[in-house]
Symmetry: C2
Subunit: 355 residues, 2 copies
DNA sequence: CTGAAAGCGCTTACAG
DNA sequence: CTGAAAGCGCTTACAG
């Protein structure tokens, strides 16, 4: 017990001292952004090597420069949930591609609303942010980022805010799918929806739930379905997963045969896969006894059907968001981008048996 | 043109001034980590609200505190490539789960070797790092992180380094699969491998290539296969993808029928799927004309077969790495973890026709 | 409970 | 080409 305890890592000042130059000069030697003689530069680098100096501290550098070189991606809910959702993965893939010119890192975190977490919307050291997906907390997030002065772009669901949005035609696309079911002869149709709000309330979709909804995507797809089937009963799931779809389908499928829907419109492919599973568990065949329409256009692992669905360009959306970030960071004005989904007719829809 | 141009964001000092307290007190009011009277705290918060202050700057905070609250994940090659690889996705998922107690963000970047990029191994503002997967540049990465004093754990492929490793039984598992093929009666077996080095050299695997290899996983799986089939010809792919597998299978499948392998051992499921596609393009049936063994245990999108493969616990590996990070950050000594893969017998392997 | 001071490690005008 | 100085915005002992 005597001298220094923790073996402190060397700093630029240490390197400068050893090289016999000023800190400014040492800094220049590292950044290369100034006139330094080759001899001096060599001396600094040699000193750094001798001290096992790892290079300028990124924390100090980013404080001083005001930029961190990091682009944030804000996911709703837990980060790991996103890794289980093929749509999110494809979107992330697109973002990574879009921001590639930046050489920036991608910081993933959530808008769980905990501003005290080490990394959150309120305090993440990011130069720009992409908000992904229909988060109920979106308004608060956008506001927090505005206060921080951080360029932001939202993928889906920031209606009314000032930030650029990357969207798809949720309502029109769903209407197109619903129209198709209608043309096939379906009249009793059920809907399985994504969550409406931060609480992710499960169960029958009431007027009240709709009125208090904060998730634009859910509302838009619901409106599209109801524009064709105004009275279609809807059940809200708590998220986009096969299991949630299976649960949500229950009240619809357990109705007496004469009341049971002949078709179900699901707001995501994973939900649709759950609906199909629920139907098959009850001995119903798809599309014989029940037609099922999805949304997304992903391939669902293990699903034996070619799902009829609205194919949306997830990766394109991500890339557009990434490119918007690059533009904003360059001081340009980014623009919102709207993509279009296409109806893919698979083998999970057919005319109803009793048509 | 006169006064201030850029509408500077308010700082803690501004808030303190407006609240009529010192910066120290204002800081305390925000962090909550000190004794401040309720009245003062309220005054500070009110001043902050009036100034639209967004809270302490994370860059300054992390410089001062010495921690960023960010865990880095280093991927080989481009970030977006990882989003296309199911094994990586499952591993990331596991890491996210493992570090959940930290509330930390996950910063994804690559070890592309460009230390001048805004975010790289040399300068990423991270508290700890997980190196994922068999990177040829691993040694350099580990060394850079050691110099920076950043706790590091490697998933696969850091033999000989001082850092904890999360591994699986690559050699033994592959040997188990090869044994199974041998028992089925196969004697002419080909191998399609992952890359051996940073160059990702494609083509016939020569002794020279093996001698210069820097990717442990590739070598271990190769050794496992050759322990059963010492003379098996091997073709290296440039990555783990269906297309690479398809290409790599070509020289093996284009041999005259009497020399053509009756079975191919692929070092990943994606490569195996490519091998199967290549076989079917040539009118060969699997497993009738060719048995195919994979590695990973993922479901390959669009593959009509139930692949015989070595099922490895990717998510578990990620979680173990995340937990190791949490332990290191808590000052505990982490330990290496070795997982075991299991042989899954699907419908892509059978006795050879000429057995 | 509150304030003055130092300092985290670097970069950037500004002189020379 | 090089150096002295200021400051990025905060937090943390240390006094009081």
């Amino acid at each position: 017990m005597g001298s220094d305890t923790a073996p402190r890592h060397p700093t630029l000042a240490d390197v400068a001292a050893r090289a016999g130059v000023s800190a400014s000069t040492a800094s220049l030697a590292f950044s290369g952004s100034g006139p330094v003689s080759d001899a001096t530069k060599e001396r600094v680098l040699a000193a750094a090597a001798e001290l096992d100096y790892a290079g300028p501290d990124p924390r100090a550098r980013s404080l001083r420069r005001g930029r961190s070189g990091i682009v944030g991606v804000v996911l709703e809910e837990r980060v790991r949930a996103a890794f289980l959702d093929p749509v999110k993965i494809r979107t992330l893939d697109g973002i990574a591609e879009g921001i590639a010119p930046l050489g920036a890192g991608l910081l993933l975190f959530t808008d769980a609303g905990d501003g005290d977490a080490p990394v959150s919307i309120e305090n993440a050291p990011v130069d720009a942010v992409v908000l992904i997906g229909c988060s109920p907390r979106l308004d608060a997030s956008v506001e927090a980022l505005r206060r921080r002065g951080i360029p932001t772009v939202a993928i889906e669901g920031a209606p009314g805010s000032e930030i650029p949005e990357i969207t798809i035609d949720n309502e029109q696309a769903t209407r197109r799918g619903a129209d198709y079911l209608h043309h096939l002869g379906h009249r009793r149709v059920g809907i399985v929806t994504l969550p409406f709000d931060a609480d992710r309330t499960r169960g029958v979709v009431t007027d009240d739930l709709v009125a208090r909804a904060t998730t634009a995507v859910t509302l838009e797809r619901l409106a599209g379905a109801r524009s064709v089937f105004p009275d279609a009963p809807a059940i809200a799931a708590a998220g986009s997963s096969i299991e949630e779809g299976r649960e949500a389908a229950r009240p619809l499928l357990d109705l007496p045969a004469v009341e049971r829907p002949t078709a179900i419109i699901a707001q995501s492919d994973l939900l649709a896969a759950g609906v199909i599973r629920a139907a098959e568990e009850r001995g119903l065949t798809v599309p014989g006894d029940l037609s099922v329409l999805g949304f997304d256009g992903i391939r669902v692992d293990g699903l034996q059907h070619d799902l009829t669905t609205l194919d949306q360009p997830s990766a394109d959306k991500g890339r557009a968001a990434g490119e918007a970030v690059v533009r904003m960071l360059a001081g340009e004005a980014p623009e919102s981008v709207a993509f279009t989904s296409t109806l893919h007719i698979g083998d999970t829809t057919a005319a109803p048996r009793t048509a």
